[in-house]
Subunit: 407 residues, 2 copies
Amino acid sequence: MALIVQKYGGTSVGSPERIAAVADRVIRWRQKGNDVVVVVSAMSGETNKLVALINAVNPIGSEREKDAILATGEQVTIGLLALALEKKGQPARSYTGGQVRILTDGAHTKARIMDIDGSPIRKDLAEGKVVVVAGFQGVTADGSITTLGRGGSDTTGVALAVALKADECQIYTDVDGVYTTDPRIEPKAKHIPVLSLEEMLEMASQGSKVLQIRSVEFAYKYDMPIRVLSSFDETDTGKSTLVTREDEVMEEVSVRGIAFNRDEAQLTVQGVPDRPGVAYQILGPISDANIEVDMIVQNSGSNSTTDFTFTVHRNDYHKATQILARTCEALGARAWEGDESIAKVAIVGAGMRSHAGIASKMFKVLADEGINIHMISTSEIKVAVVIDEKYLELAVRVLHQAFGLSS
Amino acid sequence: MALIVQKYGGTSVGSPERIAAVADRVIRWRQKGNDVVVVVSAMSGETNKLVALINAVNPIGSEREKDAILATGEQVTIGLLALALEKKGQPARSYTGGQVRILTDGAHTKARIMDIDGSPIRKDLAEGKVVVVAGFQGVTADGSITTLGRGGSDTTGVALAVALKADECQIYTDVDGVYTTDPRIEPKAKHIPVLSLEEMLEMASQGSKVLQIRSVEFAYKYDMPIRVLSSFDETDTGKSTLVTREDEVMEEVSVRGIAFNRDEAQLTVQGVPDRPGVAYQILGPISDANIEVDMIVQNSGSNSTTDFTFTVHRNDYHKATQILARTCEALGARAWEGDESIAKVAIVGAGMRSHAGIASKMFKVLADEGINIHMISTSEIKVAVVIDEKYLELAVRVLHQAFGLSS
């Protein structure tokens, strides 16, 4: 008897018919002798509709109020799925983030989960119920509703799996797993049956849209296996990708996949006085505004000044430029500039550790195509570069080919 | 400095533009030096959309789950109104029923308010904020979301006004007050500027759609004045109806208005053994199923049997017939029958007390038109009759004329 947490995204619960299909699948897993906890997103399109309402009323208003509005999408789905399960004879009980007490910090619209009280869920499971929990949302200690940011339902799924010590967290989506790169850009992209949490972390953080990065961080931190499956496979026998501990990943290749994203914007401060504390003075106010910074590069310049470049999510770009303008003045920097037309491309693979020359091969492949590199960032298992957005598709295809992923 | 609770219905908050207009009005009341608490319904059409989703998935499922779904409509509106107020420079804070802790019993889809914790609201008001509360919903002691039934937002408004000891509860709707009868049926219907809570109670329970009956019961019990106003009057100087203590209602007329409804269905048990406890045996199971019974008539029959007739809301008719069929068998009753094509018409007025012959005049007026009466129910300030639904409009018009309301 295993305990499975299943998460279904918006497309998987996009209509009463799709919700009935999810109920069927949940019941099949129950009938195989498993306890099942289900995390659901809002029905596809609902969150966008709520965002449009917010923007029509007051796009720059209090994020506490926005969260109260946004959280309703998932609340509708949990009720509907519980009703669908009941109709098929399976007792079920729904919980909002606040009801199951998914306690978060107060960073509205991108809150972080602090704690989950698993006891009411365990009680329901012991009574033979399926428990349905709203993804994407939580509650602060003082009872305000929070949301976890786009894709936060994955995080809810993994966090619940960790809190309940589940055997596996299954993420149902509209694709049957992780591919070597996005097949819409490179049709030769291939399915990856198993990869390590570390590799997935880099794939996710570099922009693979299959899993939300914070969910993978959570899974990595607590060693929770994630399985990515297609909710359109009604047989439960199709392909899937298991994301698990590195020692369980047998296949050893140098580069596992090509990740990319167009979600970032680049900001550069030029002619900053080169003295200790400058990085903090620039990034402190950005971070205080709850803006996440991804890549950071500092180049020593001439005349005791330096150039400082970093990237933020495009959604935060406007806010970041306002903060940066004030910081520049305070620092006596020469100028700052921003660029929203960038893209990030990365090669990812645990096998890189033992293979020299991977990074330089990447730079050569790009140079051969005349693609200029703005920034570089490396880790043990990835090399990421920022390039002009217009070269993105080209870069993905030539790298996919060059690292033997197309064969 | 007064404390005003304002309630806005679905039409009043039906679009971003209408929500902005509500925000303007709230701010005008603030600027006159009042503290304002606002209760809002779901945007018009939203609750029906949620009901359609529920019906598509499982119309006879758990009412706890239905409530979780239905409560989202108001949750969207509170966030949007708070954002609209902020945009216009007025600090605001929203609360769901669960957040402000509107504690109810567990009778899902028609829960009753047990208690409200006004302290967080008082704190916000003291800080100069407008507080926006979701109507129609509450929370049980164990944290399940409940709804109060259609029109429950009025009840939330009055209950909050009572809990906060407000000076007045203003109910904004799409009409500018209470009329002597529904102008869509009798174009000569006249506006009533002041009437007593007792009269309003009878008007509401007899089907006047302006105020929900439980809200008037609440106001009556706690002596809370209600003012009905139109949310389409942008000048705050138009007509309104003040519903208040009887001794403050100056105008003395015999009949204040003609109320009616088509929301009920009639059930009759024939040939019930005439012995003590029969009424309880028939109505006990109905009440256990949380079905409210309105009119009850028992006629002594012959041969130690009796006929027993009562009315329920049409929504509960199907459920009630199923229960009644079982009860009949258990009681050894001869037969039962039901009729969904009935209507109830009532004359209402505190002045009736001191005027003899009002009831018999009513019966004569109906008889003169050939309208047969199925059931009669009287109180100190109303006489209500059940007639065939097809005669409803005719009955309303002749009574409106006969009691001098058209002049």
